[in-house]
Symmetry: C2
Subunit: 213 residues, 2 copies
């Protein structure tokens, strides 16, 4: 059975959990606590799976895969029902663009390891860290709101769920944690609301995970 | 004709330039100076193309595409000769994983906008900024060196160029700028050496661009 190494609050893990639920793929949940014991992601036995020391990490028989975009594309090809990347080349490329605006444009700059490093190096308190995260999320959401204003229906691209929605909702989850004012982003807010009605999002939510505290 | 909005030193633009040269795609080079006049990427006329205010941005007829991973995958499907993502699902997924270890795992944390923000907020000088960049590149390269130790030949995956090489060489270019000691990464060093012998890399190098100073 597929195993997913995950942390309930990790928004990159959350993306993969949504895909697994959406595609009805049975999987074993392997919690990796990113804070306890100095971070279980740094333990030698986990770094054998992902030398980068990050979740998510998916194990499917002999296949060990990290990086959420790689995992999502892998799952989409192996378990195509339903597809999260679909349509013609132009449409799929724009879906990947919006996904990467989060995956590479926002998320890495506000993830736990960067916030910790900023705290240690520059002496920021939790208010300061939140302010840093807020700045980058706000900046990225401004751009995404603009791009999807041309494509959105019920979801980011029309009325069918796609990979971009699986990136957007977990990033909005982070936005709430860091108290980003979402009033400036009505389209993103609508997408979140529509997605959170769906079972696959409900089951994948941080608070629904076995390691949630 | 395809237009590429690029900055000679932008390592994300460099990735796309290599792909265009490798695939022998004629294109018009549109320089966007990231430093002059407060950053041409922030001008309203550029933000129409990419609201995120970042290069690279590719324009192909009606198609306007940003985010280098989206652009590389788009080019690879539209101009498949030669492919930069090839082989079975497992192999392609690992290629994407390694690419994302750079695209999302290293590059965003050490790019110009983050360095500028750190300088302004925390008063770092150029030494401090280099130290920050070095830390993240070193950390990411340690993980990548480990992953590709199982796959590398002349290049990151065997003896054929793939998308991962197009990510690795520009990131090593940054590593040199920030004075990362590459002695710890012999496989990455070998890949760089082998790639820089190829015409497509030579033509795509920062110093070979019309906006190089």
């Amino acid at each position: 059975m597929i195993q997913l190494y995950s942390y309930f609050r990790s928004s990159a893990s959350y993306r993969v959990r949504i895909a697994l639920e959406l595609k009805n793929i049975e999987y074993e949940y392997k919690p990796i606590h990113l804070v306890k014991s100095g971070g279980e992601q740094n333990l030698a036995e986990f770094k054998v799976l992902n030398p980068m020391g990050q979740v998510p990490c998916l194990v499917d028989d002999q296949m060990i895969l990290s990086q959420s975009m790689a995992i999502l594309m892998y799952l989409d090809e192996k378990y195509p029902n339903p597809k999260i990347l679909f349509g013609d080349l132009e449409l799929r490329s724009k879906m990947i663009q919006v996904s990467e605006m989060i995956n590479s444009g926002i998320h890495p700059i506000q993830n736990l390891s960067v916030l910790n490093e900023i705290q240690q190096r520059f002496g920021l308190d939790s208010q300061g860290k939140s302010e840093w995260a807020r700045y980058w999320i706000h900046r990225g959401f401004q751009a995404i709101e603009k791009v999807i204003s041309e494509t959105a229906g019920e979801y980011a691209f029309g009325d069918e769920l796609c990979i971009a929605d699986l990136m957007i909702v977990p990033q909005i989850y982070n936005a709430h944690r860091f108290e980003v004012d979402m009033a400036a982003f009505p389209i993103l807010g609508k997408i979140e609301k529509n997605c959170l009605k769906l079972d696959c999002f409900k089951k994948a939510e941080p608070s629904a995970q076995s390691d949630a505290q």
